[in-house]
Structures are given as C-alpha cells and as structure tokens.
C-alpha cells in the first residue's frame, strides 16, 4: 500500500491513493486505521484538543472526528460524544470500539439543548447541514429539503453554536464546522454567535489552502472577523468541501 504523510507536523494522517476499500484490510480490523475525507480529519487538528483535557463533541456520529481527537489526546482526558439519534449511536459506538477508544462517554441529548451542567476545555460543533460539500463524493447528488425544513436547520445550527459556546470553560476553544457552502449555514451562523455572545473568531493555522470566510452574501453583511474562518473547496483539495470557524471567548 502506498502511504503518504498528509503533513510534516502530524503523524496521524496518511493519504492512501489507490486504496479502494480500507474496510477489507487487516489493519482496519485491528483498529489501526480509520478512513476519512481529508477535510474531515483537519477539523480535529484545528481544534487541537490537548491530552488530558475535557472535550465535548456535540454531534459525534459516526465517530471519525471523535476517535481522531481521542488519538490526538493519547486516549487520556475525557470526551463526551453526544449523538441524539439512537440508530446513529450504533455506528458511533462501533467506530469507538474498533479503534480501542477508552476515554469517551456517549450521551444522547439534542445538541442545541445539551445540559449546561459542565464546562468543557474544547467543544466541537460539527453540525448537521445540507451537505453541499459532499456533492462530488456521493452518488446521490440530489439534496432536497423543503423550504420550511431549511429554516429549521438554520435555526438549529444557530442554537447549537450558541449552546456550544455557553458550554465552554473560561479559556476554552470551540470549532464550528459544516460540510456545506451555504453562507447561511456557515458565516451567517457564526455571525449570529458574535452578535449574541462575547465570542471571537480565532485565526486558523491550516496546513492546506483554503479561502477566507465571506463577509457579505446577497443582502447580508457579516462581521469582519469572519475572514478568519476558512472555506475548503474540493477543487483545491480534492476532498469534501468544508467550512471551519475556530472560536474563543473575547479577552
């Protein structure tokens, strides 16, 4: 198998060009590897949860990012992997089990209503989205949502980012991510947080080329800080399109 390190700085990610199905490898059964889109892997690197820290993954299934964070944390500390739907908790549990993750609890709350009973060092809000960034990757390219459902989705994303921020400890860091291009699900959501909380967009040190976030879209204008967010496009990275914002508390 031809393996190429993705970046010099990281030893957890490798590209395997030509590999059609990782699931048929002995290494997959042994829990040594987990296949993921490159941009999906970057999310955990951007959050950079330190070993022995306390982490919340608000929408954890199917567990690729959760397990990558566990690896980056050396299987120490504690990750609360939240997933509302029971049927999605099954692949989440399967991934965590296969990879031998021993530092994770699974909860089943609605992300936007996760109880304010603990404060976390790191929060990952990789929220449900319209998935436009996956158009090149999936065969079923038709994503249809009723207009009412789309409004509900935006509302849920806004409530989730605010709840995630409220769950951060004083010096905590948060990453908000989607695999879609729609500014209403990306910059619009982060802008909503900046308007309603004492939050700041933090710079992102990405090992890969991305475009800065938008500060205007149609009639909307967004906070200038949105330039610190990153849009990853498939034609630049040959991977799934992603939007990432790294967020902290002001001051």
């Amino acid at each position: 198998m031809d393996l190429q390190p993705v970046t010099v700085a990281d030893d957890t990610l490798f590209c395997a060009p030509g590999l059609k199905s990782a699931g048929h490898l002995l290494e997959y059964f042994l829990g040594y590897i987990h296949p993921q889109a490159l941009t999906s892997c970057l999310i955990s690197l951007i959050l950079s949860a330190r070993p022995s820290s306390f982490v919340l993954d608000m929408c954890a299934a199917p567990g690729g990012k959760t397990s990558h964070m566990a690896q980056l944390m050396g299987n120490t500390g504690l990750i609360v992997a939240n997933e509302l739907y029971r049927k999605r908790q099954i692949p989440l549990a399967h991934t965590l089990t296969r990879l031998g993750v021993c530092n994770t609890l699974v909860t089943g709350y609605q992300a936007q209503e996760f109880p304010l009973k603990a404060r976390f060092d790191y929060v990952l809000a990789d929220v449900p989205c319209t998935g436009e960034g996956r158009w090149r990757a999936v065969e079923d390219k038709v994503i249809s949502r009723r207009p009412g459902a789309l409004t509900k989705l935006h509302e849920m994303q806004k409530r989730t980012i605010v709840r995630g921020f409220d769950l951060l400890s004083e010096k905590g860091k948060m990453v908000y991510a989607t695999c879609t291009y729609n500014p209403e699900e990306n910059e619009g959501v982060v802008d909503f947080l900046l308007k309603h909380r004492d939050a700041v967009c933090l710079p992102i040190d990405s090992p890969f080329p991305g475009e800065p976030g938008l500060c205007e879209w149609k009639e909307e204008t967004y906070d200038e800080q949105l330039r610190r967010t990153i849009r990853f496009y498939p034609h630049r990275l040959d991977s799934v399109g992603f939007f990432v914002a790294r967020i902290g508390r002001r001051g």
Binding site: L26, F29, C102
Partner: protein, 140 residues
C-alpha cells in the same frame, strides 16, 4: 477480571491501575481514569468507554477489543499464528495448541499483532473473534 487477566495471561494488575471498570448488567466497561468524570455525574450517560468483559454463563470473557488494546502486556497463554493457521481459524477450523495449558481462553496474535481471543479445549484452539468482523478481510 483483573486477577483473571493476571493469572491466565500474565497481564500485570498494575496495567488496570489507570482504568476504571464499570459494570452494567452482564458487561464491564473500561474507561481511562479522569477527574472530569465527576463533572459528568449530572449527565444522562448512554455508554461508557470500551466494553471489556462480558459474563457468559458462569464465565467472564474478555472482549476482542480489550484484548487488542491490552494483549501486548501478556506473557503467557498466547499463540502466535502463521498464515495458514490464521486462514484455518478464520474459516472456522481448529488448530492444535502445543503447550500444556488449562482449557480456557488464549490470546491469538499474527505477526505480533493481537487479533483477539481463541478458546482452548483439550489441546485444540477455536477462534472467538466475531466472524462478521473478519470475513471481509482480504489477503489472508
């Protein structure tokens, strides 16, 4: 469970010092010790850590995954397989176990990678690795 792993496989009890074991019904779950657990006591938890042991009848069976995670600490009760033995075990056949050992579980490894558990009965070993998980592995 901890003394069983020490007696059967020579896995030092101190290996478990950094973990908690939680019991739920017939299973035990392994979680890395952390002070953060205290902060989660008011959350409704669906699942904790890695399933490590399961009670089957009067016996306690370590899970494939906990053996993969901790099996490299074993000093006895292990069987290093060669290619043909792996193929036969995965096909559902038994293979002979050369050493004298009481009937029970043995740790199976291949090229020094821990595969999981086998069951030794009267000198013959049968794979205990869930067949569903290994049937799709190519090249064996």
């Amino acid at each position: 469970m901890v003394s069983y792993m020490a007696d059967r496989f020579g896995i030092p009890q101190s290996v478990f010092d950094r973990f908690w074991l939680f019991r739920k019904q017939r299973s035990w779950w392994l979680l890395h010790k952390t002070a953060y657990l205290e902060r989660c006591k008011r959350l409704k938890i669906a699942r904790v850590g890695l399933r490590a042991f399961q009670k089957i009848g009067p016996y306690v069976k370590p899970s494939t995954r906990v053996v993969q995670v901790l099996g490299h600490h074993a000093t006895k009760g292990t069987l290093e397989l060669h290619d043909d033995q792996v193929r036969r075990l995965f096909a559902g056949e038994t293979i002979p176990f050369g050493e004298k050992l009481e009937n029970g579980y043995v740790i199976l490894s291949f090229k020094h990678h821990i595969l999981g558990l086998g069951l030794l009965i009267d000198g013959k070993v049968r794979s205990q690795i869930p067949r569903k998980q290994i049937q799709s592995i190519g090249g064996l």
